[in-house]
């Protein structure tokens, strides 16, 4: 079966507007504007079972349904293209090959939500993606598929690019809203939730690139078709898995949801690098728990991965082999989160550097007996922070202590890294 997101991809270049249209692009948009009500579009997305592809995995149709219908004043849609989660590079690959699915998907989302003006929030470093989008937006406007009176209808929709200057916390939806408003991007208190009071105090939906890029095919082919793409009844649609680390071919691949971990590594990525043995992986970007060899045949869908004690997250699969020290890997992850903490609340600002210090000592052979207990306390208490960054940082540490405590202890007992 043809999967929707990479269907239009050309090797090493971006698909052209004409190619995209010839291959069925903008058919979803045409279908929606010639006979579907905004409600119909929203219902199709809800029925499709599409879940947020940015990391949290919340049902997209439900998120949309939280926007009150009767509030006066403008409402907003923001596409989150901040993607700074280590190991995650799907939005880059998607947009460097095809900006049109996102443009069409956003237009459809605006139609469904009654939004007149939407933003694409792009991180610094994604200049090529931004250029593709800017060109695509102009092309769509010229063809009457965006801008004033889309396809001759009464609906007008604008898309604007907002280029950021690089900071992980801007991917958090309330921080992102502050960033777009030109304020210091600390997260905001919830409630009020963005769906009610977000950008400039108006109702706001924030969706990830991959989420929105799925919408055209859902509208064009129907919810049942989308559901049927998945390999198991728990899932719906396809997923971009961006694999890095110890595999032969590191690649961003589109696979049906429910593909097993083993099939991703062996099938799509040619197996492990240099004949190395699989030790563990992080399946969904830096803020997820480790999966182990026993999970080799685990179907990768949101619920099944959650039941196995991790998260599908962003789909950034980072693969470790037996030569990798997982204490050092966790230290690397914590270092990232400590550096990217926005500094707003004390447990995160002070706690992450402390965890980093302890892990550094352990890695360098200066760990002490009660360090493991102290780390466990942090896993527990760094759940009580202002936003999800610190709890996210604790996920790999929690996984390390749960699944690889022996390896941590060996460091402390042997007074050195056993792998060095």
């Amino acid at each position: 079966m043809e999967l929707p997101l990479f269907r239009h991809n050309r090797p090493n270049r971006v698909v052209t507007f004409d190619e995209y249209r010839e291959e069925g692009g903008f058919e979803g948009l045409k279908k929606a504007f010639s006979g579907m009500s905004p409600n119909d579009v929203q219902q199709a997305v809800l029925d499709s079972g599409l879940r947020g592809r940015g990391g949290a995995g919340f049902a997209t149709g439900r998120k949309w349904s939280f926007v009150p219908r009767d509030l006066p004043g403008p409402r907003w849609l923001i596409c989150n293209c901040d993607e700074m989660e280590p190991g995650t590079y799907k939005d880059r690959v998607l947009l460097e090959h095809n900006p049109y699915s996102l443009i069409e998907g956003m237009t459809l989302a605006c139609y469904a939500l009654g939004v007149r003006h939407a933003f694409i929030f792009i991180r610094k470093g994604y200049e090529k993606a931004a250029a593709n989008l800017a060109r695509g937006i102009e092309e769509a406007k010229k063809a009457g598929l965006l801008g004033e009176h889309i396809l001759g209808s009464e609906h007008s929709i604008d898309l604007d690019l907002h280029l950021s200057a690089g900071r992980y916390i801007c991917g958090e939806e309330t921080a992102l809203i502050n960033a777009l408003e030109g304020k210091r991007p600390n997260p905001r208190t919830k409630p009020p939730f963005p769906a009610v009071k977000g950008l400039w105090q108006g109702p706001t939906v924030v969706n990830n690139v991959e989420t929105l890029a799925n919408v055209p095919a859902i509208v064009a082919n129907g919810a049942a078709w989308f559901k049927g793409l998945a390999l198991n009844p728990e899932g719906a649609g396809s997923k971009l898995f961006c694999v890095s680390g110890s595999v032969k071919n590191r690649a961003c691949v589109e696979l049906p949801i429910g593909t097993t971990l083993g099939d991703i590594i062996d099938g799509a990525c040619g197996g492990m690098r240099d004949g190395k043995k699989f030790k563990a992986c992080i399946p969904g970007g830096a803020s997820t728990q480790f999966l182990k060899p026993e999970h080799w045949n685990l179907p990768m869908d949101y619920d099944t991965v959650a039941k196995a004690g991790s998260r599908l997250g962003s789909g950034g699969v980072i693969v470790f082999d037996e030569g990798h020290c997982l204490v050092e890997a966790t230290l690397n992850l914590i270092n990232f989160f400590a550096r990217e903490s926005c500094g707003w609340c004390t447990p995160c600002r002070e706690g992450l550097p402390y965890v980093k210090e302890i892990l550094t000592r352990i890695e360098n052979g200066r760990g002490e007996d009660d360090d493991i207990a102290i780390l466990r306390e942090h896993v527990k208490y760094l759940n009580y922070t202002f936003c999800a960054l610190a709890p996210g940082a604790m996920a790999p540490l929690d996984g390390l202590l749960r699944d690889f405590e022996d390896e941590v202890r060996e460091h402390i007992v042997k007074k050195k890294c056993p792998l060095k």
Binding site: E83, R123, E127
Partner: protein, 157 residues
Amino acid sequence: MIPETLKTSLEARIASAITAREAAVDVMKELQAHYGWLTDEAVAEAAALLGLSPLQVEELATFYEMIYRRPVGKKVIHVCDSISCWCADCDKIIQHLKDKLGVGLGGTTADGMFTLLPCCCMGMCGDSPAMSVGGVPYGRLTPELVDEILEAERHKV
């Protein structure tokens, strides 16, 4: 003082935004491109253009990775030290950069050409280890490739 043409284009950018503040990052970036880094003077100018206090601009400027509040070389090298690059031995690449440039992280080469900074994941994990030089991304780095890139970037205007 910034040239009149730059001022006019920044004013136009601000006018096209929904609120002036929304253009803050763009304004800082443009001024940084003009001065080479976001000087105190640039902070004051941005504040005047945006209708903010210099302190409000300062709290934005110091938040973002790509806004430099201290002088930097002609081209900034951001070398990724996040997890996928770690798997791909980025430590060796970072050490090589330090040796080759004769500076530590945060340092600027004696000729004022390069500033070396570590950075978080840049979405090049599939092509790790990765760095960007003056905004141009490079992946699958080896020490030899790093040498070639530095040589080429040194002469590229």
